[in-house]
Amino acid sequence: MSDLATPQEAIRPGTAPGEDIALEFRGTADFDTSEMTLSIGPAHPATHGVLRIVMDMDGERVVDARPVIGYMHRGFEKLAEHRDYRQIMALTNRHDWLSGFNNELGVAVTLEKILQMEVPDRAQWIRMLMAEWGRILNHLMFVGSYAIELGAITPMFYAFREREDIQHLMESATGGRLHFTYNQPGGVKIDLPKGFLRQSDELLKLVRSRLPDYFDLVLGNEIFQARTVGIGPLDPALALRYGVTGPTLQACGIAEDSRVTEPYLKYGEIDVEVPVGRNGDAFDRFYVLLHRIRASLDMIEQIHDAMPSGPVNVKLPKMVKAPEGHVYGRIENPLGQLGYYLQSSGSKTPWRFKMRTPSFSNVQVLPHLLRGTLVPDMVAVLGSVFFVVGDVDR
């Protein structure tokens, strides 16, 4: 791993570090500029889907920005009130389509909390293994797409090479490549296939050996640093009042991670490293994202060593009914903290099922990041606040 891969001062292209170019403005300073309103999206490559951003522009500078969401609203919370709990797991696989496994895990954890169900050890370790592979799948996607937005196409090919291998591995156990539906209340559907851990271990070594490529190719790239260092900084206290979580919050220097602060499954028994940034800018957000991949690989190694034998699920009645009451369950999703509020009236469908998704809060804070930036920086900021539009609109 190169020395460049740490948060530091921007290196201007063509100069040695520490030797800044003094830019002198020679034109007349009193251009007559009038404000205009520019609508980015809803179908713009920089918005990763159908998100619209209405920006008040003064020349190239963004004066104000208002994200407009709702283009992909599918009424998940209403649909959930009409489905039983197994079906809800299949449903939640789909709101953040890049982290299907973690979403369904959130439902399982919430449901087991209200059912006060004991989950077999092996099932919990298998869930952790899959959740960490799922996290890497998600992060690799953003590594590739963010680089593409900044004009580098190659990292996408690198990322998809790894994604393909990981999806192949997860498919061998779950049968799915994006929507796994591998969890069920009280465990996972079936045990891992024979030789899975060996394959997983080989893949771990492979991905780990290729990881320095990303650090050198993207983080160490001078153009990447010039585009991202100091762009779109986020104040930690403001981020918290907005409910921003995940890599975007950790980049501000706050090591808030549900796996550490409120351990679920068996995360309390392994070392969970939470990488943090310093300045909360676009560079740090990406830096945290890459280091989270490395941290997840370290966790997978520990999970391999600790994997116990035993049953992977419990015998369930034909229909799972949650007792009357309400519960708030929360897990660390790849993009931030995912919360499920489940209020049950004792029947087989929930009375109220609220999905608190990380992307919703992360997108809400965008105006603070965009004010005062230039149009090309807007692309750098949008890509660095990692979100999935389906997760915003639900």
Binding site: L240, R241, G243, H326, Y328
Partner: protein
């Protein structure tokens, strides 16, 4: 702080604003007087012991005839506790108005817009609830209210709502073999749809008369129900 300590701590400071507290399923909930919500939330944010610096979410719940509740989830990244503040919204089902928390936590802005969009709960002190945040601008009705029906499910019940098998006290499956004539008859909706189809296609077989078609439909239902049961039995074994 754990739930008992939190309970005591809150009661010492704003005891008169608290209606009740509940700690169930690892979820600590405080029921608060609606007109004191902003005060309690501000205390949660600023008090050094509570230190709820993170606004997690806020959302509505339909409580049937009692009207609506609004739940606010706060979290402390330094003390590692979570508090759910819950208020019953004044105004019943007709004109629900809840206090807005946008002056305390900026993140409440979109959360309250979503609650208004989904339940029609107004927020006093909010900078602007309209336009509708998730649904389309000219959408009519409040989708997450229980009296707003999911149209497709009204026409055809979701198969998942059907009970695959009922269990007795010992957990054994109660076999239900439909006897002759035991299949459910046509529902009101079936009749209505048949009438509509007849009106739309005068002169077709459907127009021959309700009795024949209904009898056929009932016969179809019978076999379908039998098929379902065998499928369920197959799953069971």
């Amino acid at each position: 702080m754990d739930a008992t300590a939190l309970d005591q701590y809150l009661h010492e400071r704003v005891g008169d604003a608290i209606i009740s507290t509940r700690d169930q399923f690892d979820t600590f909930t405080v029921e608060v007087h609606p007109d004191r919500l902003v005060e309690v939330a501000t205390l949660c944010r600023d008090d050094r012991g509570l230190a709820c610096n993170m606004f997690d979410s806020s959302f509505g719940v339909d409580e049937g005839e009692d009207g609506f509740a609004v739940v606010v989830v706060l979290y402390s990244t330094t003390q590692f506790h979570r508090i759910l503040l819950r208020v019953m919204v004044p105004g019943g089902r007709e004109a629900p108005v809840a206090p807005s928390l946008t002056s305390v936590y900026e993140g409440a802005n979109w959360m309250e817009r979503e609650t208004w969009d989904m339940f029609g709960i107004e927020f006093d002190g909010h900078p602007g609830l309209a336009p509708r945040i998730l649904t389309v601008e000219n959408f009519e009705g409040w989708p997450l209210r229980k009296d707003f029906f999911l149209a497709s499910r009204e026409a055809k019940p979701w198969p998942g709502l059907k009970e695959p098998a009922e269990l007795d006290e010992d957990g054994n499956v109660i076999d239900k073999v439909p006897g002759p004539g035991g299949a459910p008859g046509p529902t009101d909706l079936d009749e209505a749809m048949a009438a509509q189809a007849r009106a739309a296609n005068p002169g077709s077989v459907l127009a021959a008369g309700p009795e024949d078609t209904v009898a056929e439909a009932a016969a179809d239902d019978d076999t379908a129900a039998a098929d379902d049961d065998t499928a369920a039995a197959g799953e069971e074994s």
